[in-house]
Structure formats: structure tokens, C-alpha cells
């Protein structure tokens, strides 16, 4: 039940930030994708979420073997969101996920998501809390990135992210944002 996240964490420890196209010789039927994104922002660049604020509880990198050492704890605190007169907030449905319950709050101003937070997070045990504090901030950033990518949906939601995305969608629906 809990093996996979640990395995992932072990992978993370050595590899986070590595994002180049390695053309490993594998079965010849595969083609490396064009457009190696080597110049993409590295983890922790903190630039993808314009006008967003990082969660105040940055994940610990020292307390758990599942925490990657290169996790973007060094992300600069970007400007705190100021609530413009036209902005609106809503909290999505609390969604159960594999290790607990979470709810996502979203603030939109005009057509931009200006803030995403997780005001409600209940986990089943200490392990889950470790996992959640590690995963949630990453998801936060991904939502912002997704916004800049102009997408209709996200695939590949993690066990936590699935609940995150659902609650976020519910919150967006409530503020009639699209």
C-alpha cells in the first residue's frame, strides 16, 4: 500500500531537476520527442506562477527519507496575492484521497487564477502527513503552470493530485471561472 511513494522518493533524491532527453538505446520502435526542453525552468525557479504565493509551509527536506534533497524549498517567496476588487474566491468540495481528505481554495481575478491553497487537509497518520506536506506544494505549482499552458484538463494526476484537481475544479466551477 505504501511502497510506491517510498520508491518514488528514492528516485527523487537523486534525480529531481534532471530533465534532459537521454536517448537511451531501447527498443528501436521508440522515437525521442523533439524539442528537448533542457532550457526549461528547473524545479524551484518559482517563476511559473505569476502573481502567486507559495504556501507558507515549505516541505521539510530533512525529516523523511521520502523527501528529495533537491526539492524546491529554495523557491523565492513571490509577491503575496493582493485581492483585486474584481477577484472572487471559492473553496472546492473536500475530496477523499488515498491518505486523507483535502479541499482546495482558489482565488480568481478576471481570467487569472491568482491563488490556490489547501485550507483543509486531514490525513490518516503521520506517514500521510509527511507525504502530504511533500506533495501538496508541488501540486500548487503545477496548477499555476497548467494555467500558463492553456489547458482544458490534466492527466497523470497523482493519488493526491487527483483529489486536488477535483476539488480545484469544483472551486473553479463555483466562481464560474473557465
Amino acid at each position: 500500500m505504501r511502497r510506491a511513494p517510498v520508491v518514488l522518493g528514492a528516485t527523487l533524491a537523486g534525480l529531481a531537476g534532471v530533465f534532459a532527453f537521454h536517448t537511451h538505446p531501447t527498443s528501436g520502435v521508440l522515437a525521442p520527442l523533439p524539442g528537448a526542453p533542457g532550457s526549461g525552468g528547473s524545479a524551484g525557479s518559482g517563476g511559473s506562477g505569476k502573481g502567486t504565493s507559495r504556501p507558507s509551509t515549505t516541505p521539510s527536506t530533512s525529516t523523511s527519507p521520502t523527501s528529495p534533497s533537491s526539492h524546491p524549498t529554495s523557491a523565492p517567496a513571490s509577491s503575496t496575492t493582493t485581492t483585486a476588487p474584481s477577484s472572487a474566491s471559492a473553496t472546492g468540495t473536500a475530496i477523499q484521497y488515498g491518505y486523507g481528505v483535502l479541499a482546495v481554495k482558489v482565488t480568481v481575478s478576471g481570467k487569472r487564477i491568482t491563488q490556490v491553497s489547501v485550507p483543509e487537509l486531514r490525513t490518516a497518520d503521520s506517514y500521510s502527513q509527511t507525504l502530504a506536506t511533500q506533495v501538496i506544494p508541488m501540486l500548487h505549482s503545477e496548477v499555476m503552470s497548467a494555467q500558463s499552458a492553456r489547458i482544458n484538463a490534466i492527466s497523470g494526476a497523482t493519488y493526491t493530485c487527483e483529489a486536488f484537481a477535483q476539488s480545484l475544479q469544483a472551486a473553479l466551477n463555483k466562481v464560474h471561472f473557465r
Binding site: L33, P37, K111, Q169
Partner: protein, 297 residues
């Protein structure tokens, strides 16, 4: 809770060119399914009726196939209390698809290897989502997406202005753009899949991986949880099979690429492996776009 419907529901947006855009979230099948409809010529009542019918299809599938409901026909089949010949026809239909998926993946997707007897759960959600989408299509919408936690089926045009659009909305039919979450990069959607619908048959995307329900991916040979890839996305015509193929790739890794599923079915795969390398079947390049640099930072 997902079962609390008060915060779910529907939001509608008037849209001059392509009709109203409706978003609806429905708690069903142990998750929340999000439906997006571009209304086209349908009026609001028509859209409402179509969404209701699509949701009904999802709930019907849940009632028949849920392995959490002890009295569901599927649970009774699993316990040997209900013979397949007396079970609802859709169970036979889904198990037939499961057999196809097992064969096409050379056994790496195997509902018969699940503890407690045959369990089509890994395929039936996608099957139901696709049926729900088809209800919307038959109702006459201009575009539809049914999304169950990132495994989704689309048809027709996307809304003119997706979430986060800039101030210059594209003209004409829009492809559905689906971000593939990177398994560990903090700030990245790894790729964006563009699903145009030139053939009018619709399209589907499913992703499985070590970071998604990792412990639920069971190696059919060892019957233990196993993951070889970081992320496996399959793009193709049918969500039920795409979901099964993605699961097989996530469990079996590169070797599953040699299985029969790749021959002729119109399915493509995009893989992010544990070392960060990305691989794709040749046809993927036409639908997967790297994020422009301007959108990466």
C-alpha cells in the same frame, strides 16, 4: 466528502459563437467526474438534459460494476453467486474488453490476476466515461469532455477559452489540450497533448504511473505491487483500452511496448521513465507538444 453534492453541480457560461459552455462535477464511481460541454446549437435545457443523461450512464455503470457494493451484479459474479449468462449483458461486454486488453498487453493488464477474483475496475471506469461522452455527442453538442481524475474522453471542439487563456481566444474549433503532469518536477506540466477531432470519432487520454495509485498497480505475474515507469500516458480512440494499456506500461515498463497493442489500433504512448528520460511512440509527435519556453518560466 465527494458524496456531498452541495458544492458540486453545474456552472454555465454564455458563449456567442459555439453556444453555452457548461461544466458539471458529478460524484460517482468513487471519484468526481467532471463533464465539460460546448453546447453548440443546444439550448440550456437541451444541455442540461444531455448532462443528466450522461450522469445517469455513469451511475448505472457504478451500480452494475462496483466491487465496493456487495450486492452489485459484478460483486455477485466475483463471488460466484451470479452466473455470467444471467448477469447484465454489459458485464460480458466489459469482460470481453478485458480479455482483449489482456491479450493486447501480453498479459501485463490482467483483471483475472486481481485478489478476490476477476476485477475489471481498471478498465470499467474508462468504459463508462466513454459511454457518458457518447450520450453527450448523440444529444448534439459541439464538444464534450468527460474526465474521471485525469483519464478522459473528448469529442468535437474544446471551449473557445480554456482555463487560463490569454486575452486572444483562438478562432474556430479548438483542440482539447491536456496537460501531462510531470511525475516530480515541481513546476511542470511535462507535455501538452492536443486532441483535435478531425475524424469525428473522439479521442482519449489515460495516464498511469508510480506517482498515481502506485500501490494499486499489481504485477499480474508476481501479484505484488510493482512499477517500472515513472509515468505512462496512452493516447488513442477508446478510453477503456487506453487506460488498460497505460496501466500495463506502468507495471511492465519498456517491454510492454513490444506487445500487440501497438499494431493498428491507433494507440500511442508517451513515457517518462524513472531517470527522467522521455520516450514516445512515433505517432505521438503529432499530438504532443513541448511547452514553449515562454510558458515554462
Amino acid at each position: 466528502m465527494a458524496g456531498d453534492g452541495r458544492e458540486l453541480g453545474t456552472s454555465e457560461t454564455p458563449e456567442a459563437a459555439s453556444g453555452a459552455v457548461v461544466h458539471h462535477s458529478e460524484p460517482v464511481m468513487g471519484t468526481v467526474v467532471t463533464i465539460t460541454v460546448v453546447g453548440g446549437d443546444l439550448d440550456r435545457d437541451g444541455i442540461r438534459a444531455a448532462v443528466d443523461a450522461a450522469c445517469a450512464v455513469l451511475h448505472q455503470a457504478d451500480d452494475v460494476f462496483s466491487t465496493w457494493k456487495a450486492d452489485s451484479p459484478m460483486s455477485r459474479v466475483r463471488r460466484g453467486e451470479l452466473d455470467l449468462t444471467r448477469a447484465p449483458d454489459v458485464i460480458g461486454e466489459v469482460l470481453h474488453l478485458c480479455e482483449q486488453a489482456r491479450s493486447d498487453t501480453a498479459g501485463w493488464f490482467d483483471p483475472w490476476a486481481m485478489p478476490g477474483g476477476v476485477d475489471p475496475t481498471g478498465l470499467v471506469k474508462g468504459w463508462a466515461v466513454e459511454r457518458a461522452r457518447d450520450v453527450l455527442v448523440r444529444a448534439g453538442v459541439a464538444g464534450a469532455m468527460v474526465n474521471a481524475g485525469g483519464d478522459l474522453a473528448v469529442w468535437g471542439t474544446a471551449p473557445p477559452e480554456p482555463v487560463g487563456a490569454a486575452s486572444d481566444p483562438p478562432q474556430g474549433p479548438s483542440p482539447w489540450r491536456v496537460g501531462i503532469v510531470h511525475p516530480w518536477r515541481a513546476d511542470a506540466v511535462a507535455r501538452v497533448v492536443e486532441l483535435g477531432d478531425a475524424t469525428g470519432a473522439g479521442a482519449a487520454v489515460a495516464t498511469s504511473g508510480t506517482y498515481e495509485r502506485g500501490a494499486h498497480l499489481v504485477d499480474p505475474w508476481s501479484r505484488r505491487a510493482r512499477c517500472s515507469l515513472a509515468s505512462a500516458t496512452v493516447i488513442g480512440p477508446h478510453l477503456a483500452l487506453a487506460d488498460a494499456f497505460a496501466t500495463a506500461l506502468a507495471v511492465g515498463g519498456d517491454r510492454v511496448l513490444a506487445a500487440p497493442w501497438r499494431t493498428g489500433g491507433g494507440y500511442e504512448a508517451y513515457l517518462i521513465r524513472p531517470d527522467g528520460s522521455e520516450l514516445a511512440t512515433p505517432g505521438v509527435a503529432t499530438v504532443v507538444a513541448p511547452l514553449p519556453h515562454s510558458q515554462r518560466n
